[in-house]
């Protein structure tokens, strides 16, 4: 039992619906692509509906509509935000110059967060970690040096394909091969991860629903 559904009769009935949804999706494997497509559209409808519920009920209503409706003078700074929200919601009917304003706030914010996070949160700490720790055991230092070489080569592989001096291009090529191998390794982790989900789904149908798994 995955525990999302209670053990009571209502939960048991819901388990049956969930199991049938699983079987219906996996009917793709025996050629029932029409059923698969219909269930995917059901998934899309439910997911987008949920997106709207969470956006309206947990964000727009309590943080915009209610404060402006109940105490507008205490929330004057929300007014421009409210205008931008209105522009975005009415984007189908407004000229592009009006819709560009809320889009600019979103894009500007995203770019700023991306830049700051990339430099301060990832780039600088990872560059520092690429070097061996002074005073550590010789084997650890050797491993760290080898790791730093690999890290440097892979980072340089990002210039592969760009106009570059020949030696740099060769180094980038080596880094690219290492990157390909690393991605292959990651693919192995992906396979394991997805297989665990397959096992869980089968366990749910055979165990939680049909009671066949000891």
């Amino acid at each position: 039992m995955n525990g999302l559904l209670g053990p009571d009769p209502a939960g048991t009935a819901t388990t049956a619906v969930a199991a049938l949804a699983t079987i219906g999706t996996w009917a793709y494997l025996v050629g029932a692509r029409r059923l698969f497509a219909v269930l995917q559209l059901l998934l899309a409808g439910l997911a987008t509906g949920y997106l709207a519920v969470v956006a309206v009920h947990e964000v727009l209503l309590p943080r915009l509509v209610v404060p402006l409706a109940e105490r507008p003078l205490d929330h004057l700074l929300l007014v421009p935000g409210g205008v931008l929200v209105a522009f975005l919601l009415a984007s189908r009917w407004l000229p592009s110059r009006a819709v560009a304003l809320p889009a600019a706030v979103l894009v500007g914010g995203t770019a700023a967060f991306a830049f700051g996070g990339a430099v301060l949160g990832t780039l600088l700490p990872q560059l520092a970690a690429a070097f061996p720790i002074p005073g550590s055991a010789p084997l650890d230092q050797a491993t760290a040096v080898a790791g730093a070489v690999v890290t440097g080569l892979v980072a340089l592989s990002f210039v592969h394909g760009l106009p570059a001096e020949r030696r740099l291009a060769r180094v980038a090529l080596v880094g690219r091969w290492l990157l390909v191998a690393g991605i292959g390794g990651w693919l192995g982790f992906l396979v394991v991860s997805r297989l665990a989900l397959v096992v869980d789904r089968i366990d749910f149908v055979l165990g939680s629903w049909l009671g066949l798994v000891p």
């Binding site: 999302l4 559904l5 969930a18 949804a21 999706t25 996996w26 793709y28 494997l29 219909v38 995917q40 559209l41 409808g45 439910l46 949920y50 997106l51 709207a52 519920v53 969470v54 956006a55 309206v56 009920h57 964000v59 727009l60 943080r63 915009l64 935000g81 929200v85 975005l88 919601l89 189908r92 110059r97 560009a100 809320p102 706030v105 894009v107 500007g108 914010g109 770019a111 700023a112 991306a114 970690a129 690429a130 790791g147 730093a148 892979v154 980072a155 990002f158 990157l179 191998a181 690393g182 991605i183 292959g184 390794g185 990651w186 396979v191 394991v192 997805r194 397959v198 869980d200 749910f204």
Partner: protein, 204 residues
């Protein structure tokens, strides 16, 4: 080239948030918090706008009699059902029992089943690659096979050896590659973000 109002707003928003990250200043912090609140609201509004656009498109398809009509009806029923469950008068939103039922009975199992099917699609893609791709594909598949071997859940001493090797592989070679990847992606990401802020690619 004159920048539009939107591009200028983009630059101001971006610079304000970056300065707020670097400096501690009451006024800058207050303005940055205001902008963050707008972004939170706009993100929610963008989600709603997307849902409206999707619904409008499928309704238009149904009216015009084009596309997959049954599919459109099913999508709209799913969307409508969730919206009614969560937003009807008196509903509790995401914590409403009706929403929780739809989530537990349909949303989660459907999503989990599709993602689990990726395992089958991966196997199919691997088989199809027998006649596609160059040496890079062979290197990639070889690395995949090596990791899969290391992840075999075997008991006893052989299993311990595999587990130790898998741990070392993740920490050292794969860790080093992904550190390089993170550094490269961070540099590319930072440069791209700067280009967006400066709108050096924008058509006015």
């Amino acid at each position: 080239m004159r920048r539009s109002l939107a591009l200028n707003l983009l630059l101001v928003v971006g610079c304000l948030l970056l300065v707020d990250l670097l400096l501690v200043n009451t006024w800058i912090g207050a303005f940055a918090e205001m902008v963050r609140e707008w972004i939170v609201l706009l993100a929610a509004a963008a989600a709603v706008a997307g849902v409206i656009a999707l619904a409008a498109r499928h309704l238009a398809d149904l009216r015009a009699g084009r596309g997959d009509r049954i599919g459109s009806v099913v999508l709209l029923l799913g969307m409508g059902g969730m919206l009614v469950a969560g937003l009807r008068p008196g509903a509790a939103g995401t914590t409403d029992p009706a929403v929780q039922w739809l989530t537990g009975a349909l949303l989660v199992p459907l999503a989990a089943s599709v993602v689990a099917l990726v395992f089958v699609f991966l196997l199919s893609a691997i088989r199809r690659s027998a006649r596609a791709g160059g040496r890079e594909t062979a290197v990639m598949l070889g690395a995949t096979a090596a990791v899969v071997i290391l992840m075999l859940p075997i008991g006893g001493r052989p299993g311990e050896v595999l587990a130790d090797a898998a741990r070392w592989t993740l920490a050292v070679p794969i860790g080093a590659v992904f550190r390089g990847l993170l550094i490269g992606v961070a540099v590319v990401g930072a440069v791209s973000a700067l280009r967006v802020l400066l709108a050096s690619d924008a058509d006015d």
